[in-house]
């Protein structure tokens, strides 16, 4: 895919109920899952479809966060989800917005770990419901040049994240295995489902192929052009 194609394509919003059987089986749209405390949550249904690695690299969700940073996963992720087109819940853009604020507060670049952004319900780390499955959680392993491996560093940035917004929830040092070892800051926004404005939730209304293809990226670009290009030139 060349650069011009990438520019023109934008991101398509898909209703995961309309995806093929294999994808539905791993994304589990609309299914209820329990978190570690036994509370039930409904998995997201609307996803951005990322057609290629190039598009993932080029799509900026905020000035300092690219879409590709939220979909990095290793072999713990279902193998089907390593192939393009790939899918990420639409709420990821909210996460990017808050991470941008966090980055500003930290005064340094914020690096999301592999498996630290979106994780499908079929990911091997998805044993209980976690906001990672909604695209609303990030595991940050490095801030600037500081690799987060000590209790002091992790607690410092946890406090900073909580100060950014009441919407941001962090997990304490050693939250996964209990004690003594940790290697990242976890922050999340909870179980947020985002339904893009262009989408009608009535599945019977029109077939998938006729649904709007325009996601926020393209809308923004059109808005920018409208503001700078004289009328009639395009």
């Amino acid at each position: 895919m060349n650069e011009e194609d990438v520019e023109d394509q934008g991101l398509k919003v898909v209703d995961a109920f309309d995806l093929d059987d294999e994808l539905r089986a791993v994304l589990k749209p609309g299914e209820m899952v329990r978190d570690a405390q036994g509370r039930r949550h409904r998995l997201p249904r609307y996803f951005y479809e990322i057609p290629s690695h190039e598009v993932a690299l080029k799509t900026r969700l905020t000035p300092h966060f690219g879409l590709n940073e939220f979909v990095l996963a290793d072999l713990k992720e279902a193998s089907r989800l390593h192939d393009y087109p790939r899918y990420v819940p639409c709420a990821v853009r909210l996460l990017a917005f808050y991470l941008e604020q966090f980055r500003h507060a930290a005064g340094a670049s914020v690096h999301i770990a592999v498996n630290g952004g979106y994780r499908s319900p079929s990911h091997k780390l998805s044993q209980n419901a976690t906001p990672h499955m909604w695209g609303t959680a990030a595991d940050v392993y490095r801030i600037g040049s500081n690799i987060l491996k000590t209790k002091e560093a992790i607690e410092k940035y946890n406090e900073l994240a909580e100060d950014v917004s009441d919407e941001i929830h962090v997990l304490p040092y050693g939250h996964v295995t209990g004690r003594h070892a940790d290697d990242h800051v976890h922050l999340d926004l909870g179980y947020i489902t985002l339904i893009p404005r262009e989408i009608s939730e009535d599945r019977m209304e029109q077939p998938q192929e006729n649904r709007p293809r325009f996601a926020f990226e393209e809308r923004r670009r059109v808005d920018r052009r409208a503001a700078t290009v004289p009328a009639g030139e395009e």
């Binding site: 072999l75 491996k149 295995t177 003594h180 290697d183």
Partner: protein, 301 residues
Amino acid sequence: MAARAHHKSEERLPVPPPKDSVASSEVSLYRNVLKIKQEHELEDLGISFFDAESTIQWSYNADHYFHAASTMKLAVLLGVFRQVDRGELALDAPVHVRNRFTSIVNQEPFMLDLGRDADPDVYGHLGKTLSVRELSYWMITKSSNLATNLLVEVVGIPTIQLALDELEIDGIRVLRGVEDQRAFEAGLNNEVTANGLLKLLRLVADGKAYSQKACDEMLSIMLDQQYRSGIPAGLPKEVRVAHKTGNISTVHHDAGIVYIEGRKPYVLVILTQFAAETGRGTAVADVSRDIFNALAGSAYE
């Protein structure tokens, strides 16, 4: 020479047989090995050797179990290529590089001391990914503990042990990854015998560890070994060795396949154990040199 395992109780210098006989070479080798053991104040020494050219086998204390140190990484490599050969794992599959592992004792989390594990090639990727192929490469060539533990997580200890069982390799016990201090304190260690490692390496050398392709890949990695103070240090520089070393404060091992131009390779495993205050010395290289000399009949020094 015939296959023979000598035991510590027999360690009196034998009477030399007539010169130029096979028995003479064997006795000479045995005398040299005992001498090296004494000179280097080794607490234990295990050697196993097989020459594909002459089909000569020779061993000393070869069924004695030693702390495996990093020689266990050969078993991990075998487990990885078992999965690759079965199509259950891709060498290009990305693996998240992170420094957090779980002890086999009480599932306690632990981290590696990256200051000790001098492999920036791996820990420089913390938070990112390396492929299974890259991790395998650094696990063997630079003995990366981080790469090893990541691969142990990928394939699992049961699969590694299954690979050893499938290939009927006795003498290698893999219980855990590396630097699991809790397990070490509980006496739960990976262990190897010289004969066990010899069997594994012979299968790889013969293309019989799952498939010729898998063996070629494993050999290619082992030939790039960067630590050469063991078996290669006792050989002429032009000799190629596909090998894996193992070192902790009280053991120094090397297990390798030695390729000499114009002849079939020989497989050699040398395991040494000593008091921490003694240090590792050059015992492995000295044994390697003696074996080479016995085979070549040369006076290489």
